[in-house]
Amino acid sequence: MSIAITVEHLSKQYQIGHAQRSTTLREALTGLMKLSFLRNWQQEDTIWALRDVSFSIERGETVGIIGRNGAGKSTLLKILSKITYPTSGEIKVGGKVAALLEVGTGFHQELTGRENIYMNGSILGMRKKEVDRKLDAIIEFSGLEKFLDTPIKRYSSGMRLRLGFAVAAHLDPDVLIVDEVLAVGDAAFQKKCLNAMENLRAGARTVLFVSHNLAAVENLCQRCIWIDGGQVRMDGKSRPVIEAYLGSVTGTQALAADLDDVQNRRGNGRIRYRAVEFLSPEGISQRVVRAGDPVVMRFHYVVSEPTPHPSLGFRMYTDLGTLVTETSTWHHGINIPLLETGKGYIDLEIDCLNLLPAKYALSLWATDDGGNVVYDNVECGVTLEVETANIYQSGKDLDSRCGIVFFPQKWNLSGTLRTVRESVKQASQCAPQTR
């Protein structure tokens, strides 16, 4: 089997913020005069979108690329499609490459559907003769025969999508690179696209498929590469890679949140949150908690030097960012005389978690007595998933459409009974007596 794609120690660095060189000629010229180009790049001014990525793909393989947003997947595809160039490292791609990073590339509003088929086809690398040959098939696939001679500025977005994908589905490359183009479109269209992808795959072509639709990835790809933070985290058979990826995202470990590796935090680190556990009153660790349950939140921390009179607490938010509640040792007027160096934990015992089923985020903080010195502040580092429960003993499935909180409550109908008695009395008075 020959190698279709080779990636060796690929790295891509981007400059961000003010480190970018001037964007107007005027600035560049004045900068030149001030000799400001002699200024050094600072480390914070660049980010590594990809760092030392290496893998090789053989001819005929279908490989899925998965990862969080911002992990570097699209950058990798752009480099493989020669749209941008690596900062270091090498890539080798053999055979005719077609990159589908967007559906309908090259479309011009003023041109008709038919003209755009040629434009798009040519941009994607098809010869005019090839488009001529496949024109009928493309038109049929799109289902837009009636509208072919109208300028596409009159098309709906769905029609444009169908046209673009119809052309793309008839590409005949050796290597096909597809980037999340299936993310748009209705269910029927997505199904059509997946079928088309299947056909392409059947033709012993090499396919690189980036998507968040993990079911589609598992279905189409024998092999998966997980890109995380610009590096290859895992590379192997689809199922284990996808499971590992899902595991990292949702966190199926015993701890509700492992905060050791979280970099995105403020504070001088004198007290540092390490993890959060949700426990039942019996002390058993739980990943999910049901509405109305008693729960113990255990906050694990590590202290680097003895700290007197700290305040520890958190803010809880809905997934839309509404602040639900804030609580802390300060709110309770609790005085912690001293926290010794080393590891420890603090428990918050909640008798009844009056939150409706939804996902909530916790932002943990630890400060000194007056709240002036911040030891640690982790924004939305912990997810609390509240599951449904028979809250009002009614058997009804209630969720965030009913709000954020619920109270222990009971409806009392005693006041309504007199009205019932009254109306029954009235009804019997009005009804004709039958004998």
């Binding site: 060189r21 990159a99 590339t105 941009i123």
Partner: protein, 261 residues
């Protein structure tokens, strides 16, 4: 580098045609005046220059009626200035293409240059009309005009490549451009004949790559005009250097287009 690039350009030749075709179709599809636009620009320039410079300022025109004297130079010049204006923005206005699909980026300004030939062809009909009207005696030299057109395209592409690539990084280039073109118009012997320039200044002005293309075109139509090989040769030499230099600059800048745009 070069042989790979050239084979690649040849492979993508159909795309060049499609870019030019797209531009022509779009330009003429919705414009009410359509094809007439191609003639209006040089025609009106000719009328205004004739009134101002020919009649009012009495600029000499080497024994040739001023309107046609002016127009023969305006034709390649209009090609140059209009293509340059469009081509220098061609990369930025197609930024979605640059970030989503690969093709040799030079095809975008090149497509504009190719599309401009249509306007040039239409404008030359008016030239033929003027030649008939003024009973101009042509000779075989007229057949050399395609060669001069080629030189015009060379000049245009050279400057366009530089401007297009520069505009991607420095967005104010396209605002400086109209100003530049205005000055360039007066630095080229379109409105006035070469004989008006004192001898000692001519070599300096010959460094203007547009000098050669305009003078050569005029000479094709009016072979009786003095043809200074040295000066015109210098100008064409500059044009070739500009083309090569522009191509090199474009090639170097191309790698970072998708990141900077």
């Amino acid at each position: 580098m070069t042989s790979d690039s050239i084979t690649e350009l040849w492979r993508y030749r159909e795309l060049l045609y499609f870019f030019a075709w797209r531009e022509i179709k779009v330009r003429y599809r919705q414009a009410a005046l359509g094809v007439a636009w191609a003639v209006i620009q040089p025609l009106f320039a000719m009328i205004i220059f004739t009134l101002l410079f020919g009649k009012l300022a009495r600029v000499p025109s080497e024994g040739i009626p001023y309107p046609i004297f002016c127009y023969t130079a305006l034709l390649p010049w209009t090609y140059f200035s209009s293509v340059l204006a469009l081509a220098s923005n061609s990369l930025v206005s197609n930024d979605s293409l640059l970030t989503k699909v690969y093709f040799p980026r030079v095809l975008l300004p090149a497509g504009t240059a190719l599309a401009g030939l249509v306007d040039l062809a239409i404008g030359s009909f008016l030239l033929v009309g003027l030649m008939l009207y003024y009973h101009v005696h042509t000779s075989w030299v007229l057949l050399l005009s395609p060669l001069v057109i080629l030189i015009t395209m060379l000049v245009t592409m050279g400057v366009s490549m530089v401007m297009a690539a520069a505009n991607v990084r420095y967005r104010d280039v396209r605002y400086a451009l109209p100003f530049l073109i205005q000055i360039w118009l007066f630095a080229t012997p379109i409105i006035y004949p070469v004989s008006m320039i004192p001898e000692r200044f001519r070599p300096i002005l010959a460094l203007n790559p547009c000098w050669g293309m305009v003078s050569a075109f005029r000479a094709c139509v009016f072979p009786q005009l003095p043809f200074d090989f040295k000066l015109i040769g210098t100008s064409i030499g500059v044009a070739v250097l500009l083309f090569l230099g522009g191509a090199y600059y474009f090639y170097r800048a191309e790698k970072s287009f998708a990141d900077v745009i």
